[in-house]
Symmetry: C2
Amino acid sequence: MATPANSADEGARPTLAQVAARAGVSASTASLAFSGAGPVAEETKQRVLAAARELDYGGPDPRARSLRTGRSGIIAVVMEDRIRDAFRDPMVVTMLDGIADEIGAAGYSLLLLTDSLERQQGGLRDAPMDAALLLGCSTDLDPAVAVLSRRQVPLIGVEAQAREGMHLVDVENRAGMRAGAQHLHDLGHRRVGILTLPMDRPHTRGALTADWETSSVAYTGRERLAGVRDVFPDAPAVVAAGSLPEEGALAARTLLDAHPDLTAIVGQSDLIALGAIQAAEERGMTVPRDLSVLGFDGARIDGLTDRRLTTIVQPSVEKGRTAARMALAALAGEPVTSVVFPVELRLGDTTAAPRG
Amino acid sequence: MATPANSADEGARPTLAQVAARAGVSASTASLAFSGAGPVAEETKQRVLAAARELDYGGPDPRARSLRTGRSGIIAVVMEDRIRDAFRDPMVVTMLDGIADEIGAAGYSLLLLTDSLERQQGGLRDAPMDAALLLGCSTDLDPAVAVLSRRQVPLIGVEAQAREGMHLVDVENRAGMRAGAQHLHDLGHRRVGILTLPMDRPHTRGALTADWETSSVAYTGRERLAGVRDVFPDAPAVVAAGSLPEEGALAARTLLDAHPDLTAIVGQSDLIALGAIQAAEERGMTVPRDLSVLGFDGARIDGLTDRRLTTIVQPSVEKGRTAARMALAALAGEPVTSVVFPVELRLGDTTAAPRG
DNA sequence: CTGAAAGCGCTTACAG
DNA sequence: CTGAAAGCGCTTACAG
């Protein structure tokens, strides 16, 4: 006993037991004083808190608590992409904001994960979590879903293929795109091209072939594609490598090179559509006079452009909030119902009747 | 025993002990088979893995492991702002990307936290974490630092006031801004205004008074301010409510209304500077002919503008990587040294000699 | 209102 | 190479 009896060893975190001992109460009582989960005399409670202060005790260790209670207080958000790419998508960011809001209010914290399983340790396989939200547009969630279901983590998929045991938050991707395409058709367009979201995991760029289309497991991209195809069955499509303006521009160049006679382009996201506008203007076309451009998302893209994009508006914050609430409900043992959010065509200044 | 002996109870996660029993080995051996932390005969290992598959065992429970090992595998990133606002800042996003890369490679996951301590439970106080990175520009980290030090979590501050027990990653905010201001001075500017980052927690907008300046604890903003003041001691400043173009524009309007004779504006971030350009153009000024504008960050702001902003470039990804590596080093018990990154003036097309 | 006891599911010395 | 034992730091019935 070289150290004074009334001070914790240097560097060693004090424990609840030490606090209890110092306060002259049992561990159970000390625990109750912190959690408030049971009746403790106010005076006793103050004694415990004082002892904690004296020992510089930072509160019950979350690791021990979580083993005991079976809860970690963590909800994971699983994304496909590199964080950097994901965060450049306003839809992801607003959704995340809705999620953080909702789970934060419930006392949970947000763990950011990618669905990569390459590494042996860490990530999906090992991170503590009480529930997981699998986020949008992922091209192949199956391995991640397998790992997490085995861990018995409640799963909420946002815009994901339906899967056994996974609750879903979806938006009317197909119907929304159909409405947008119909709007173009009503304006008189007949030669319409499509710029799609990534269709495979490596995010390959290029013209979408029939084979590629059939083999793709990219949920959102396929749904939105189907919506356009409901109106323009043979519309040519080029795949963008991401929901980014520069990718949209790249894909639009490919599309316009191959199909210079297009009078309208449908982008599967607003950022992609924005890139298409850039590409069109580069080659001297005026939007919407020479080319109509339609987006999807209704993103708030301040500073990006002064155009009002004609687009399909989806409630991204609400999507995030709902996904989070579904996770919380699942954790509370309440029944969880999958949800499909409606979308809405919003007319801007980027679509018009074709020339001539 | 109503359930078959060879199946786990419905809904109950199997444990390592059950797997071990089924494989006919001890729990210790089964643990080793999963962790690889000790020698296990290949055949034994396969038997354990087979048993795990049969019981649909998802691997050792992270909660128990983390109590036992004292590690949670989680590194927290603490931000001041709402997630939504933080993510709109390219500096935050790129830094986060560097952080995620580095800690992911080391098998750690990233927990996103705000430094709010309003709620009684959850967040900083209760979330499991092995280390925490406190992220930039925060106006008042003290309460968060207090809570986390008591928990004995190793702390890395990025652009934060030096504090007992916290390692620091900083950039040459003051020297960088001084160089930028000197550049303006060399061009002949004498009437220069400043648009600052938030100076208090509520993110109050408005002209920066001497009192306000003195009482502010916003580290980054104060440093950058000092840099400009080194060259232009009396430059008037207006505080923006965030590092966003619209906030920059708002602040610039206030600044230009009060000081219509300014020939140059220094924004404390690129996004703020961008807003200043917008505001200037709104009132018919041409940049840089009628007004020079200088930024800070060297952010990649694709799509936002086709201007090449004159700015102070800082290595944001590297900042994130370094902060992450420092956390990992601290966890490994290695010595940690604080770092200050140099910055560099990059000339663009938004600064020029004043007219006349 | 308080305390004694059990146990959450692992991993890690240690002995063999 | 394998097993028996201890214990990480809590919380929660339960008894008083």
